[in-house]
């Protein structure tokens, strides 16, 4: 009855503390590469190169584009670090208990999750139909988080609306 699969309340703050710098870092690094591929700041390049390392790959490609299975390969792990930190922090933000958790909050959470799933897949369907090739790969990369982001936005808006309606009552 009491099982709700939620993190303790303090994990929400921890989630934001991880997510914000991780996101900021990614935006700075990604955009400096995407927008100015030939003139990226050398300090950024050398920072990114720090993360070149040998990793164990279940599946992957080597430099010749050949498929590799269950082998050690060279890879820049900055992307992986960012993805792991973002997913974990968004899970913390989205699935931590509210300060005053009760059944109405639980209901809003469930409804928001259903809503976010629909919105996420409607947008993904549109992207499948209208976005192609490399651009679609960017969509997929974003899609890793969008369901969590839509859920967090919708859930917090609903809770804020609930609090606002209470203030009107006073």
């Amino acid at each position: 009855m009491k099982t709700n699969y939620l993190f303790p309340t303090r994990f929400k703050k921890l989630g934001w503390l991880i997510f914000c710098p991780a996101m900021l870092f990614t935006i700075i690094i990604k955009y400096s590469y995407l927008l100015f591929p030939d003139q990226t700041n050398p300090s950024i390049v050398s920072f990114v190169d720090l993360f070149n390392t040998t990793v164990f790959a279940i599946m992957g490609n080597n430099f010749d584009g050949e498929n590799i299975y269950f082998k050690l390969i060279e890879n820049n792990i900055l992307n992986e670090i960012f993805l792991v930190l973002s997913i974990i922090s968004l899970l913390f933000i989205g699935f931590s208990k509210e300060k005053h958790e009760d059944e109405l909050i639980a209901k809003i959470r469930t409804e928001s999750l259903v809503w976010a799933t629909y919105v996420n897949y409607i947008i993904l369907l549109l992207c499948i139909l209208f976005i192609f090739n490399l651009d679609f790969l960017y969509v997929i990369e974003f899609n890793i988080f969008t369901i969590l982001i839509f859920f967090i936005i919708r859930f917090n808006l609903k809770v804020a609306k609930l609090n606002k309606s209470l203030r009107h009552e006073e």
């Binding site: 059944e103 309606s165 209470l166």
Partner: protein, 68 residues
């Protein structure tokens, strides 16, 4: 579903905050129930009945649309 939480609360001279604390829910939930925007779980309905010292059926009443 109609309910008489507000009436029962007034009889006991309780604020929404008092009732929320006794029922172990937030004031938002009490408010949403009084406005008919939220139907409580069986446990919460039983808690409210116990707090007011009445039967659940005295607080909550089914409406036609609850059968649809």
């Amino acid at each position: 579903m109609k309910n008489s939480i507000k009436v029962e609360r007034a009889k006991k001279n309780m604020t929404q905050a008092d009732l929320a604390e006794l029922a172990k829910v937030t004031r938002q939930t009490i408010n949403a129930m009084e406005l008919g925007k939220y139907a409580p779980s069986t446990i919460l309905a039983l808690r409210l009945a116990s707090i007011f010292g009445v039967e659940v059926s005295e607080i909550f009443e089914l409406e036609k649309e609850d059968w649809k």
